[in-house]
């Protein structure tokens, strides 16, 4: 097995090889062990400084990254657009170069514009990790999702995964499709026609508009949130109608021929895409996903940090 990632930055799952993903998982297994010890910290990244740049709101991802960084003993600086000079008209490159002058080795960035992470990685010396770029990719989320499937079902190869909901505005969906396919899983997307990108079948995914049929086919259902903040027009009549057609309830879940696993990248809108009793049921692995998120992010940061040259 190769001991090094084939990439210098993590801007998207599209750039990774299957070997890269397997290396990340193997390393994450060890970090999951570390974060369950009495002292949940290793000294590997003592001489590394990481900046978390969040130009878009986030709670879970930012906390997860920050915890991962701290458990690797890195120094961490946080930045969020709401309280910064971006509001005063500074460009992305200027903001980042200012931060890099303070000797930062790695940048974790969330940005509303698709391609922002790639743009940055081509222009700065530090390693870049994409923590979500608009509707494009959210690679660490896809990695932790696939890692959680591997943990719950033993392997990802050959498994059937359906992604339900707002595929059109979802970076989680695109990254998940790339990641699951690279690991040999079959992927289906399910949702109203208006929320499914027109040419998505060209990625090799199945398309289904009937939730029950999709659920009967799959081993795992990944339920996505409706991203109202990205929807400038109405894509469906009402949330209530969406919920009636595409909401996952205990009744549907219990009526399926086999016991499927239920995932959700968060934040959950209880009662819209998923009911409370499903989210809290034993088939739900939502909280395991959050725990695995820290381990997977530690693995990504550790493997990329190994490529930082010493000054």
């Amino acid at each position: 097995m190769n001991n090094n990632l084939s990439v210098e930055h993590l801007t998207g799952i599209k750039d990774l090889t299957r070997q890269d993903i397997e290396l990340i998982f193997k390393t994450a297994d060890n970090f999951k062990d570390v974060i369950n010890r009495p002292i949940k910290k290793v000294p590997s990244l003592r001489d590394i400084t990481i900046a978390n740049l969040f130009f878009e709101n986030s709670t879970r991802t930012r906390l997860s990254f920050e915890l991962a960084e701290k458990r690797l003993s890195a120094d961490v600086v946080n930045f969020s657009a709401a309280s910064s000079s971006v509001k005063k008209g500074e460009t992305l490159i200027d903001t980042v170069n200012n931060i890099l002058s303070m000797k930062v080795d790695m940048v974790v960035m969330r940005h509303p514009n698709p391609g922002a992470a790639k743009f940055l990685s081509e222009r700065i010396g530090a390693k870049v990790i994409n923590a979500g770029d608009g509707t494009h990719e959210h690679p660490t989320q896809a990695l932790l999702d696939a890692f959680s499937i591997r943990e719950a079902l033993g392997e990802v190869e050959g498994k059937k995964v359906v992604i339900v909901g707002d595929i059109l505005h979802s970076r989680v969906a695109l990254s998940n499709i790339y990641c699951l396919q690279k690991l040999g899983a079959e992927v289906m997307v399910c949702g109203p026609t208006t929320l499914i990108p027109k040419y998505i079948h060209e990625l090799g995914v199945k398309v289904e508009h009937n939730l029950r049929k999709a659920l009967e086919w799959c081993d795992v259902a990944n339920m996505l949130r409706i991203q109202l903040e990205r929807q400038d027009i109405k894509y469906f009549p009402s949330l209530r109608e969406y919920s009636m057609q595409y909401g996952l309830t205990k009744e549907i879940l219990d009526s399926l021929p086999k016991e499927i696993k239920v995932m959700h990248p968060g934040p959950i809108n209880r009662g819209v895409e998923i009911t409370s009793d499903v989210a809290d049921s034993k088939q739900s692995i939502i909280l395991q996903q959050v725990e695995n998120g820290v381990a997977v992010r530690m693995a990504v940061i550790y493997l990329l940090a190994a490529k930082i040259e010493r000054h």
Partner: protein, 183 residues
């Protein structure tokens, strides 16, 4: 590479037995002592010592394995593999006597990392070190073993390899010396 067997399979077995009796002298019935093998090759030593000890004592001896990858002091300084091995310590080490076990003691840096890694699991009452081979006079750090199978004097250019019946087919310790023209 010139090859010299410094411990053959008969002496190998005797050495393991002697180490076991030395351990028993210090730890009696092992009621408050655990053995922890450092990944990857210290685990082989622990496995062998455990089965020998259990034969002599007639009871189970608690053993674990510890991976030190994330605690190394040479991260980003070498091209060495980054992939860690499994850590398996499914007992509490707080207030226990711990014997760290490795196959070859050389610079002492692995043991330094091992001590760091071990302390993430709690505060042991005492930590001791057992090594099958001690490459004397080659230490970078002030670390010495409490139990030594075989002491050897070596050059930096030489390599000591502990081989196992289960893996390489025969129990032995081999010293590899580069031919003079290779040096």
């Amino acid at each position: 590479m010139e090859k010299q067997v410094i411990l053959n399979s008969r002496h190998f077995e005797l050495t393991i037995k002697r180490l076991c009796y030395e351990l028993i002298e210090q730890h009696n019935d092992f009621s408050n002592t655990v053995l922890i093998g450092l990944q990857p090759r210290g685990v082989n030593v622990v496995t062998r010592i455990k089965s020998q000890l259990e034969q002599i004592l007639g009871k189970e001896v608690l053993c674990g394995t510890l991976d030190i990858t994330f605690y190394r002091d040479d991260f980003r300084r070498t091209e060495k593999p980054l992939i860690p091995s499994v850590t398996n310590i499914d007992f509490v080490i707080e207030n226990k006597k711990v014997v760290l076990v490795d196959d070859v003691l050389y610079t002492g840096r692995t043991i330094r990392s091992g001590l760091d890694a071990l302390l993430a699991f709690g505060r042991p009452q005492k930590v001791e070190l057992l090594t099958l081979v001690d490459r004397r006079f080659r230490r970078d750090l002030p670390i010495q073993a409490d139990y030594i199978g075989k002491t050897v004097d070596t050059l930096v250019s030489e390599r000591v390899s502990v081989e196992w019946k289960e893996i390489e087919g025969e129990d032995k310790v081999v010293l590899y010396t580069p031919e003079s023209n290779e040096q």
